[in-house]
């Protein structure tokens, strides 16, 4: 079944730890995105990718990094987690811009708490 997956769903971690949030999609989409959403706030785009070996920074500055070695996989890494990184992280994917079906499909999100 075509879908987009995020793991873990919930993560509580101490300050200074390195973490990787996983995102995978089975829809063959070229574009993938990472959003950060604080409680009660709008989504902010922090990273996106047009395809393999393509990564771009989004509107909101983030200390996280991303990689796109495979089409279906778009992990996000924090080298040293801090309490200010506590947030919900949403991954999304879409077809290329040349397609008319370019709405984004979202994963369930990862709720990160850094203590």
């Amino acid at each position: 079944e075509a879908d987009i997956y995020q793991t873990p769903r919930y993560l509580v971690i101490g300050t200074g730890k390195k973490i990787t949030l996983e995102c995978s999609q089975t829809m063959g989409h070229d574009k993938m995105y990472w959003y950060q959403q604080d409680p009660g706030m709008e989504l902010h785009l922090i990273h996106y990718s047009y395809g393999v070996n393509s990564t771009e920074k989004g509107d909101l500055s983030s200390e996280s990094t991303v990689s796109r070695i495979r089409t279906e996989h778009f992990p996000l890494t924090l080298e040293s987690a801090r309490p200010s990184h506590t947030s919900q992280y949403l991954c999304a994917s879409s077809e290329l811009a040349t397609s008319h079906r370019y709405e984004q499909y979202f994963g369930p999100g990862t709720r990160l708490t850094v203590t």
Binding site: I4, Q6, K31, Y33, Y35, G40, M41, E42, L43, H44, L45, L90, A92, S94, A97, H100, Y102, E103, Q104, Y105, F106, G107, P108, G109
Partner: protein, 113 residues
């Protein structure tokens, strides 16, 4: 530049009454517009989208939205609210190339039994 404004952060309706969630946008080109819904502890789900075809767009779960260029609005409506509609709704504007996507701040819909 583009922006989207959701005029109400919270809307409360009684079950069985109409729902109206308001969204205004600004864009320097002909945009695409979307409504997404987010239930607690779930990801976002696309409700409907406008991409320059019919101005009245029908979506899932009985929702629809009308694109009004003269009013720069894309309000979301439903004739009769159901308890399961309680969620947060996001209005989204993007350029046609989908290079730039802007989310609204969201509207929390409460449905009272």
């Amino acid at each position: 530049a583009q922006s989207v404004t959701q005029l109400d952060s919270h809307v409360s309706v009684s079950e069985g009454t109409p729902v109206l969630l308001r969204c205004n946008y600004s864009s320097s080109y002909s945009p695409s517009l979307f409504w997404y819904v987010q239930h607690p502890n779930k990801g976002l789900q696309l409700l409907l989208k406008y991409t320059s075809a019919a101005t009245l767009v029908k979506g899932i779960n009985g929702f629809e939205a009308e694109f009004k260029k003269s009013e720069t609005s894309f309000h979301l409506t439903k004739p009769s609210a159901h308890m399961s509609d309680a969620a947060e709704y996001f209005c989204v504007v993007s350029d046609r190339g989908y290079q730039k996507v802007t989310f609204g701040t969201g509207t929390k819909l409460q449905v009272i039994p």
